[in-house]
């Protein structure tokens, strides 16, 4: 059972790390700001989400697990709102170019 849980953790954390990698590549390689924003939001939502998912089986108590989820929810909330703000701030600039 613990082997299966460990394996689950490893797979989820590996996938999360991959999303961070993909997000960074996107941030560095995509041609303009709005597409880079697209890459960024995938990285912080899915990347962190998968890492938290992978760490959940290792949490010591229910409270620790809830705190992990709360951390993810906080990053989700602020990440989504900031992406919206940055996107709106960028759009008139793009139209002007």
């Amino acid at each position: 059972m613990s082997l299966a849980l460990d394996l689950f953790s490893l797979v989820a954390i590996g996938a999360g790390a991959f999303f961070f990698f993909a997000g960074t590549v996107g941030l560095l390689r995509f041609p303009d700001s709005l597409t880079r924003l697209h890459a960024l939001t995938k990285a912080d939502n899915l990347g962190l989400g998968l890492i938290v998912l992978g760490l959940l089986p290792r949490a010591g108590s229910l409270l620790d697990a809830l705190r992990l989820i709360a951390i993810w929810v906080l990053v989700q909330l602020s990440g989504a709102a900031t992406a919206q703000l940055i996107g709106r701030a960028l759009s008139p600039r793009r139209a002007a170019e």
Binding site: A70, L74, L77, S78, A80, A81, T82, Q84, L85, R88
Partner: protein, 315 residues
């Protein structure tokens, strides 16, 4: 080399690189962004140095308050044309500033590298005295019990900083309100953050204050997080910076140091020494002082960011 050492080395290189970039950046905002990234990395460094209390302070101050302070200052400087009109420093001035910085860095490095092995420490003593304070977190014990007078003076310094900022007000604006932090009309996404993030943030702030007695956390970290929450509400214009003449604001600003000092003086009469806490009551008294410190810090930091009064008190 173990994996942890590789991780630490990578972290150190990253911190140095971003620090170098922050100094070398030509544009104001580019270097502000570099500084915010530097603060983020630094709080991870503090964790690797097993100093979670400092890491928490760096996270709360570095990302929550300093970032907003620098960005707001940059925008106001740009609005006033202050950055562009100032003449760049002469080469000799820059060389001298660089030499001074190298000297300070070298002196600090020498002090750290020349420490005897093992380094002198008061940590065992700090841990030994914990029982008398009723606390579980030695850092809080140092701050509010062992060297409480220093901590009280630090809070007085924060109040003096606010007085300094306010003294830049034009005469007709005295006792008025600072300029608003945000744009004229807030966006939906910001209002969403107010509704979703701010209540959670207040909860986290109170949590940090409460666990600070026994685990990493404490009054300053809690106050800084609450301050950040107040600032985001001001940025989205749901509330405006208060008039600096308001009585509640002034009371809140001095509540922390005043209660701290009064408790210290009371200790002189009741426990036999300035800033002595009566045996058995140390923990409740410390929490009582800390509660007022949280309030004062949460009010002081946003007032520092908001800047001097810019509106006349009548308007």
């Amino acid at each position: 080399m173990s994996i942890l050492q590789v991780l630490d080395l990578g972290l150190a290189i990253l911190v140095l690189a971003i620090a170098g970039w922050t100094i070398a950046a030509r544009e104001l905002f580019a270097s502000v962004v570099g500084y915010v990234a530097y603060g983020l990395l630094l709080s991870i460094v503090w964790i690797r140095l097993h100093a979670p209390d400092v890491a928490l302070t760096e996270a709360a101050i570095g990302s929550g308050v300093t970032g907003v302070l620098l960005v707001t200052t940059g925008a106001r400087l740009r609005g006033a044309g202050g950055v562009e009109t100032a003449a760049p420093p002469r080469l000799s001035q820059r060389l001298m500033a660089g030499a001074l910085a190298v000297l300070v860095a070298a002196a600090l490095a020498a002090v750290v590298l020349l420490l005897p092995e093992p380094a002198p420490t008061l940590a065992p003593e700090a841990r030994e005295g914990l029982a008398a304070t009723g606390l579980g977190n030695p850092v809080t014990a140092v701050l509010i019990a062992y060297r409480s007078f220093d901590t009280m003076l630090e809070k007085v310094v924060l109040v003096l900083a606010v007085v300094g900022v306010w003294s830049l007000a034009p005469d007709r604006c005295w006792a008025g309100a600072p300029a608003p932090l945000g744009r004229a009309r807030p966006e939906g996404a910001l209002l969403f953050l107010d509704q979703a993030l701010v209540p959670l943030g207040i909860l986290v702030g109170v949590h940090l204050f409460w666990v600070g007695a026994d685990e990493p956390g404490g009054a300053f970290q809690a106050g800084a997080i609450l301050a950040a929450m107040w600032m985001i509400v001001m940025i989205s214009r749901l509330t405006e910076p208060p008039r600096v003449g308001a009585r509640w604001l002034r009371l809140a600003l001095i509540a922390g140091p005043a209660v701290f000092l009064a408790t210290g003086l009371a200790g002189g009469g009741m426990a036999g020494g300035f800033f002595a806490y009566p045996a058995g009551f140390a923990k409740p008294i410390i929490l009582f002082i800390e509660a007022f410190l949280v309030l004062s810090i949460a009010v002081t930091l946003p007032m520092l960011v908001a800047g001097p009064p810019r509106r006349s008190p009548q308007s």
